[in-house]
């Protein structure tokens, strides 16, 4: 770890002030991604802005037909939330499947969504549920938010404040875990919200993406069998020592089928 300055502001405004003044400052929420990077000296921020003292970033509330989750809400809190379990059980299940106990007790939705790791869980839920990302200065539609591997629409100095999830009629999530890291090797989040079907695929490619053909098939008939025949092209799939692009493409269909089955 290199030396850095440490700040612990108590408001979003103060945090943004520090971050805007210095392009090499970084926010830290749960630290589950940033700290290992710092320890390995892969990252050299001038200062680290700890968001854990900002009360307005924490908590889960139901707001009409939306569930609003503050950026600093930990995975364990989402997994155990009565509101989330009642409204979007697939989201609670997803949060409860991230990493291990330690990770779930530290890692946050804001950190995970801002980080946009291709193998992360949350981005699939955000995209499939057509969530809105609330930031320190604007609202961003899920379709515009995830822009590529570890890249989002967030500007420098812009903080993710909350994620608003419309409550769906049906939603389901299934994933194949990478045998070593147990991050997502290929996952599918399927949702039907206000009659609209969205299918988001994570883990398999450089960035979470919507599977249009599966959406069409499910809109026509909401059943595992409807997606079973949809072949995901292998072209843009990841390939590494854990699995070929062809394997991942295959898994996309299997996971979509299972996600639909789980959604009921």
């Amino acid at each position: 770890m290199y030396d850095f300055e440490y700040h612990k502001p108590t408001s979003v405004a103060d945090a943004v002030k520090i971050l805007s003044a210095d392009s090499d400052a970084r926010p830290i929420s749960g630290g589950q991604t940033l700290l290992p990077a710092l320890k390995h000296r892969l990252n050299k921020p001038t200062s680290v802005v700890d968001l854990s003292g900002i009360a307005e970033l924490k908590g889960i509330k139901r707001d009409g037909d939306k569930i609003v989750i503050g950026a600093m809400t930990r995975h364990a809190d989402v997994a155990n939330s009565a509101e989330v379990k009642a409204a979007i059980p697939a989201l609670a299940q997803l949060a409860g499947s991230i990493g291990d106990n330690q990770v779930r007790n530290r890692g946050t939705i804001g950190g995970s969504v801002s980080n946009n790791d291709p193998a992360a869980d949350y981005p699939s839920a955000v995209l499939a549920l057509n969530a809105t990302i609330v930031t320190s200065k604007r609202r961003i539609a899920a379709d515009d938010f995830f822009q590529g591997m570890f890249t989002t629409a967030l500007d420098a100095g812009e903080l993710l404040v909350a994620v608003e999830f419309p409550v769906p009629e049906k939603a389901g999530y299934a994933k194949m875990k990478n045998p070593a890291s147990r991050y997502v090797m290929a996952g599918a989040f399927v949702a039907k919200t206000g009659g609209q079907v969205r299918v988001a695929i994570n883990g398999a490619a450089a960035c979470v993406f919507r599977q249009a053909e599966m959406e069409k098939a499910l809109a026509a008939s909401w059943s595992p069998a409807a997606v079973a025949g949809v072949v995901q092209p292998a072209d843009d799939m990841n390939s590494d020592i854990h699995g070929s692009a062809e394997y991942r493409a295959h898994l996309v269909t299997v996971m979509a089928k299972r996600a639909v089955a789980a959604a009921g």
Partner: protein, 793 residues
């Protein structure tokens, strides 16, 4: 009233004495030790697999805050890290044995090879300075795989090893072997890979060098399984420090699995540099360094041929192996594919002729050496896969084929054609017991039920033997070992009767502090709390050989028995004096000395006290004190064996394998502590399942480690292992006083073929003969998918 006396001797399972300190975070590991005025070392490691060093500029780094010293290969010109086992080529010439300098001398040969050491007041300062060292590398083409290293025109790693070959060795009579094949009715041929593994002990390696100028005394604290061996190798071969000036301490060590047997460069570097700067130096590996500097395991490619008669009786076995040594010879690397593996190729079978040849190869990878089982898992995997394939090819049932070829229970001692003589075993019984526990007969019904759920069930078996209790020194010496392999045990009875045992073995998770103490409790009749096991310090313990090859109880325990014999004899003489009886009439049984046939007794404590307070004492005939040392050199190896059965279920949609259950019935000889044996076997099986389904080290063609962290190297987790059923079936070792055989490695040796045999069985409808380890989901899906496609076409 006294509390009831709980039996804590041989056969009891008292809680482990060491666990209070381990489970409450009060262990004392090397990194927990801090010496006054201590500095910190960081190793600058090569990012290249193969490169010439044109120059190293340390000027900027040396000027950085906190830096105490920086040394490179030019500064540290010392002896080579030695190899402990000389192997001879087929033509009788000695192997090629290129040097292994602790700090690279002009050339680096694997990613992680040490180029410089930076010593600073703090670890971060040392790291900062290491980043500021400029090394001018001329990157050379690398040979990462054995095939690449053996190819014509391959890059040469060492001037002294033409063709990158270390040795080309063989065992057995080729002419006799060929004759057997000429008569064969069936011949099964097959090639397989034993995948390369990265050991990953929970505690990373660490070392502290300390030097006292006033006494010229060097001390090394290190994460070692065998501190005396390190003292000998480093003192005599690398740094030329005589034993009386060098103390090696291996305090609590958090797992070794073989990887902490070897003498590593960092130990020599901190010891050497501490004397130069006259301050203590601590080095602790981070996990990334562990991946690229701990000796890896396995990595063999083998072609095998089995000859059988009409009835499937094995007539002969022919085995050709290439074995990866990595970039340098680690301490025992050369013995693993040869004397620890090829000598096991008879397995539990009566194969009359076996010929094995091994070519050992240098590659631009981390050195490879013994890892839990060391050579024996490789032999067992080969044999037990071969037997299954032979069963399939001949149409003989796989259990029947094994039974037909088992060495019968009445044939012991049994001389194999590959040097070993097995003393005891009962393979039919361990097989029968395992089949029953695993409900082998009910399998087809379970397979059908799984198929109805769309899952592929398979069951696999392995009937195995291993050789441990390493080793009879003269035999090992004749085969090229450069060390003796006896063990020492000293029993120090204190004046009030409590006992300290000094053992040359070392416990790094195995529970010796409990098991070895149970031997004393059993013999002397004193409570376990009255016995302490002292190990891991060359200044406290007489010269012993350490722990590996499941030897601690069979060899170290036997040394203790010999020392206890001496204690009992002397104590009986003292008791005889006190009771005015003849020594021959004094009996000793668990704490009480009695004049035979009378009610005259003396208690253990009275005799101990008398030995140290010799007022009424036969001082002319017996020395005071009750403190005896014995060295024990085993007469033979010990031969644990048994049967492992694994049942798996494969999800054909994802290729993922679930271990449904795993049954082990092992003959480890007499069981001292059943709970500890169960734990040892469970741990071994977890590592065996890891090798079979999950773990593999991968390098790219340039020699970069692709599986260099837990993000990419799949360690087994609890839910990968399934339900384990571990039982023992005892036949006693006939040549050591305890009848023990050893249990540390059986789990890792017997299990991988059981798992892969199960996987292959699950895929029986897909025309599969073999699946290379690890059987990952992706690999199995490709097999299933191509099978499906073939069926569809």
């Amino acid at each position: 009233m006294n509390a009831p006396v709980v039996f804590e001797g041989i056969g009891a399972s008292p809680k482990r004495k060491e666990d209070l300190r381990f489970l409450s975070g009060r262990g004392n590991y090397t990194d927990d030790i801090n010496r006054p005025n201590q500095t910190y070392a960081v190793m600058l490691r090569s990012p290249h697999a193969h490169a010439a060093i044109r120059g190293i500029n340390t000027a900027a780094a040396a000027a950085m805050p906190g830096v105490v010293a920086i040394y490179t290969g030019g500064d540290m010109v010392v002896g080579s890290l030695p190899c402990g086992w000389l192997i001879h080529n087929k033509d009788g010439s000695p192997m090629n044995e290129p040097g292994h300098p602790p700090l690279a001398q002009g050339k680096v040969r694997h990613v992680g090879d040490i180029v410089a050491v930076v010593i600073a007041e703090t670890r971060p300062q040392a790291r900062d300075a290491a980043e500021a060292i400029a090394v001018d590398y001329e990157v050379l083409p690398a040979a990462t795989s054995m095939a690449a290293a053996l190819a014509a025109g391959a890059p040469l790693l060492h001037e002294g090893a033409p063709g990158n070959v270390c040795y080309d060795w063989h065992i057995g009579d080729l002419a006799v072997n060929q004759a057997a094949f000429a008569q064969a009715k069936h011949v099964v041929e097959f090639e397989l890979v034993n995948n390369r593994l990265i050991p990953n002990a929970m505690e990373p390696r660490a070392a502290i060098g300390d030097y006292d100028r006033t006494t010229d005394q060097h001390t090394l604290y290190t994460t070692s399984q065998n501190p005396h061996v390190i003292r000998l190798l480093m003192g005599a071969f690398v740094l030329q420090i005589p034993e009386h000036k060098l103390r090696v301490v291996a305090p609590d060590v958090g797992g070794g699995f073989g990887s902490k047997i070897f003498h590593y460069a960092e130990e020599a570097i901190v010891t050497w540099a501490a004397a130069r700067i006259n301050r203590p130096i601590k080095w602790t590996a981070d996990r990334t360094e562990s991946f690229m500097s701990d000796a890896h395991g396995r990595d063999h490619v083998t072609k095998a041929k089995l000859a059988m008669d009409e009835q499937g009786k094995f007539l002969g076995l022919h085995v050709s192996t290439t074995a990866n040594m990595g970039a340098y010879l680690s301490t025992f690397a050369t013995s693993v594919p040869t004397y620890l593996s090829a000598t096991l190729l008879a397995g539990v079978y009566t194969t009359p002729t076996i010929y094995a040849e091994v070519k050992a190869v240098f590659t631009n990878t981390v050195p490879v050496d013994a890892y839990r089982g060391a050579g024996r898992p490789e032999a067992t995997f080969l044999l037990e896969r071969l037997v299954d394939i032979a069963a399939k090819q001949t149409g003989i049932d796989k259990l029947e084929l094994r039974r037909r070829n088992f060495i019968p229970a009445d044939a012991f001692p049994y001389q194999t054609p590959v040097a070993l003589q097995y003393d005891s075993g009962d393979y039919q019984s361990t097989l029968a017991q395992a089949l029953k526990t695993a409900d082998w007969d009910g399998f087809e019904a379970r397979r059908k039920a799984a198929a109805a759920q769309g899952k592929l069930r398979g069951i696999g078996i392995s009937t195995y033997i291993e050789a441990c209790g390493i080793a009879p020194s003269a035999v090992a010496g004749a085969l090229g070992a450069r060390a003796g392999l006896y063990e020492v045990g000293a029993i120090r009875v204190h004046p009030t009767g409590s006992v300290s045992v000094l053992t040359g073995t070392h416990s790094h998770g195995q529970g010796h502090e409990t098991t070895l103490a149970q031997l004393v409790t059993d013999r002397f009749g004193i409570p376990l709390s009255q016995v302490d096991i002292v190990h891991g310090d060359t200044d406290r313990v007489p010269f012993g050989m350490g722990t590996y090859g499941s030897r601690s109880l069979a060899v170290g325990g036997s040394a203790m028995v010999k020392a206890m014999d001496k204690i009992v004899l002397k104590a009986r003489r003292i008791a005889a004096h006190l009771m005015e009886a003849s020594v021959d009439d004094v009996e000793f049984d668990r704490g009480t000395f009695r004049v035979a046939g009378t009610d005259k007794t003396k208690a253990w404590g009275e005799i101990a006290l008398t030995a140290y307070v010799p007022h009424n004492y036969p001082i002319e005939e017996i020395e005071p004190g009750l403190d005896e040392t014995a060295f024990y050199d085993p007469k033979n190896f010990t031969y644990p064996g048994g049967c492992h059965i694994c049942e798996v279920e494969i999800d054909p949609d994802t290729g993922h394998t679930t271990v449904i259950n795993f049954t082990a019935v092992d003959d480890v000889g007499r069981v001292i502590n059943p709970m500890i044996v169960e734990g040892q076997v469970q741990g071994g099986i977890a590592q065996g399942i890891g090798q079979a389904l999950l773990e593999t080290c991968s390098y790219d063609a340039d020699g970069q480690l692709l599986s260099g962290s837990f993000m990419d190297y799949t360690m087994p987790r609890a839910d990968d292992v399934g339900t384990l059923s571990v039982a023992t079936h005892e036949t006693l070792c006939t040549h050591n006083p305890l009848g023990v055989k050893g249990c540390g490695e059986v789990g890792a040796i017997g299990s991988p073929p059981a798992v892969i045999n199960a996987v292959v069985d699950a895929l029986r409808d897909y025309g599969v003969t073999h699946v290379e380890m690890p059987a990952t989901p992706a690999k199995l899906w490709h097999i299933i998918n191509s099978g499906r496609r073939a069926a569809a076409e």
